[in-house]
Amino acid sequence: MSTLRLRGEPQERVDLLSITPLALKALTEAEAGKLAIGTSRRGLTLGDVFEISLDGSDSLVIEGGSSRLDRVGAALSEGSIRVEGDVGQRLGEGMAGGTLTVTGSAGPYAATGATGGTITIEGDAGDHAGGAVYAAKAGLDGATLVIKGRAGDHLGDRMRKGLILAESAGAFAASRMIAGTIVVSGALGDHPGYGMRRGTLIAGSHGALLPTFVETGTPDLVFTRLLAQTLKRLGASQVSLFGGTLRRYSGDLATLGKGELFVPA
């Protein structure tokens, strides 16, 4: 297990896009220490910000976190990264595979464009978790995002594929969602599913509902039973939502209208 121990709060935002177990495998500690991670003209390197200990394994632990650590695990395709603390924006951006775990909270745009692997945030996630960044076609795009705390606004904005689990979420969850599944055990904020085209949003409760979502009864669907089994296998607390009947709303009728919102009846 390789480790990077944070020396202290970084003086500027740092970009850890290229810091993955695979990338570090071929490097000595001295070489790794010279990798540029700073975002100012001062040219901060990995060695300036972290004490480095490498053993060539495919698991990396970052000891100590900061909201200034951007794009942690963004290039991850195999192996695992565990951050003991907080991270900044774009956690696991475009990640293709592997396991990424953050014991603290994450900044905005966690898991944006991630196509594979599992991203777990044990604390809270900022706005746009699983959401698209500026000019991107899609947010979460096939990976699994587990948020054990609260997610901010715009959870899964323009999400295209994959699964998001969260304890609660802010306003405009599943906005402009293209497809995929979001399950929130607690409450959603106002106006979930704004501009939602397809996809499934399941939640314990919700704030103000859009006038463009219409109730379509309490169907007993095979899909929800299969989803419950998947969640059970993952050991997710959200499975408790599936104990009784679910009321289904269809929307957003302002767009394609093939999305659905389920809440316990």
């Binding site: 003086q11 500027e12 935002r13 700073g38 975002t39 100012s40 003209r41 001062r42 909201s67 200034r68 951007d70 924006q89 905005p108 745009y109 698209a132 960044v133 500026y134 000019a135 076609k137 323009r158 405009f172 906005s175 402009r176 106002d190 106006h191 704004y194 501009g195 103000a208 859009l210 006038p211 463009t212 957003d252 009728l253 302002a254 767009t255 209208g257």
Partner: protein, 361 residues
């Protein structure tokens, strides 16, 4: 020309030297405001490149409400003159379009060109201020705001909702237009709402002609977008910390950078009036402001340099909302003295001093 360093009157050379020292010592400097003529904006982008700074115009929230939707789904837009000349139906969304003279001008005449020439012009409003002076048909907004209202309207326009509700009537009127225009302010409608509105316009264009007329922000944001695009290939919020222009609307939001303690020096450029930022005084700042403005005072910032105001005391290329282009604005009144200082010169002199000091990104 007037300048102050730490509250005391100084000559411009001394202020430029002090500004270069302040910026040279910074790790993460930001250039904010950018409410200025095009030559000054260009000088600001050059300074940022030399310094490794990021830039953020005061019009950022308004610009990105529009650009976010534009970058994702495109836009169908028209101009003020085309609207006045051709539109037989104009839908005004929200309150802000009613502030200027635009709506009165639209209401004053009927379409004179194109397929709707000679027709009556219908003026409709959605969520407007119920302005009694101009005859129009008003539709109330949803409790959830303009974005929710636009979504509801679009559901009727698509035929996904039906009934005798007001929005069903509004949707029918939109489809009956020969040349329709929706006027809105992007910041008021919000990014989600703008995307919904542009989607509605696309739907309407299946069977008729429909366009958007977006109000420009009053702080030269449109000019900044164009200048940033031709200079960096990106929208305005770019940073040069890593030797090349990186675009990141979240990371380079100057108010966020300053609130988070990331930025350690700021340059506030406002040769034209702009709202005073709440963060002035919270970090070492250089203010380059128009002469005669409320900010033209020693206590505004560590270093204050006053410059000519484009279109007032000096000439300059500015965004012309009426024409929808960047155009030269003559100085008003007597021709200005030749030695009148402008913001572009001040920024170029600061940059020259930084290069002399060996500061280069």
């Amino acid at each position: 020309m007037t300048a102050w360093v730490k509250g005391g009157a100084a000559d411009v050379d001394a202020a430029v030297d002090a500004a270069a020292d302040l910026l040279a010592a910074a790790r993460v400097p930001v250039l904010a405001g950018l409410s200025a003529e095009v030559s000054a904006l260009r000088a600001a982008y050059r300074l940022a490149e030399t310094l490794g700074a990021s830039l953020d115009p005061v019009s950022g929230p308004s610009l990105y409400a529009e650009l976010g939707a534009l970058s994702a789904g495109g836009a169908m837009s028209t101009t003020r003159a085309e609207t006045i000349g051709r539109a037989d139906l104009v839908l005004v969304v929200g309150n802000r379009p009613w502030d200027g003279s635009l709506i009165a001008e639209i209401a004053a005449v009927s379409p004179s060109r194109g397929r709707a020439a000679g027709a009556e012009r219908a003026l409709l409003s959605l969520g407007g201020p119920q302005n009694g002076a101009i005859r129009h048909v008003a539709y109330a907004p949803e409790a959830g705001g303009l974005a929710v209202s636009l979504g509801h309207l679009r559901a009727f326009a698509k035929g996904h909702l039906a009934g005798e509700e007001a929005y069903a009537d509004l949707a029918r009127r939109l489809f009956a237009a020969q040349y329709g225009v929706i006027v809105y302010d992007a910041e008021e409608v919000g990014e989600l709402g703008v995307e919904m509105l542009q989607g509605l316009i696309r739907d309407l264009n299946e069977s008729t002609r429909f366009f958007a007329l977006t109000l420009a922000d009053p702080f030269q944001g449109r000019a900044t977008v164009q200048l940033s695009a031709w200079t960096t290939g990106q929208a305005p919020r770019v940073g040069f910390g890593r030797h090349q222009p990186e675009h990141d609307p979240w990371r380079f939001d100057s108010a966020r950078q300053i609130a988070a303690g990331e930025a350690d020096a700021a340059l506030w450029l406002a040769s034209l009036p702009a709202p005073r930022p709440a963060w002035l005084g919270s970090l070492p700042t250089i203010a380059i402001v128009g002469e005669g403005s409320p900010e033209a005072a020693g206590e505004t910032a560590e270093i204050v340099i006053t410059v000519g105001v484009p279109g007032e005391s000096i000439g300059g290329a500015l965004w012309n909302e009426r024409r929808g282009v960047i155009a030269y604005a003559e100085p008003k009144g007597q021709p200005a003295a030749a030695e009148k200082l402008n913001a572009a010169d001040v920024l170029a002199r600061i940059r020259d001093r930084l290069i002399e000091k060996g500061v280069s990104c």
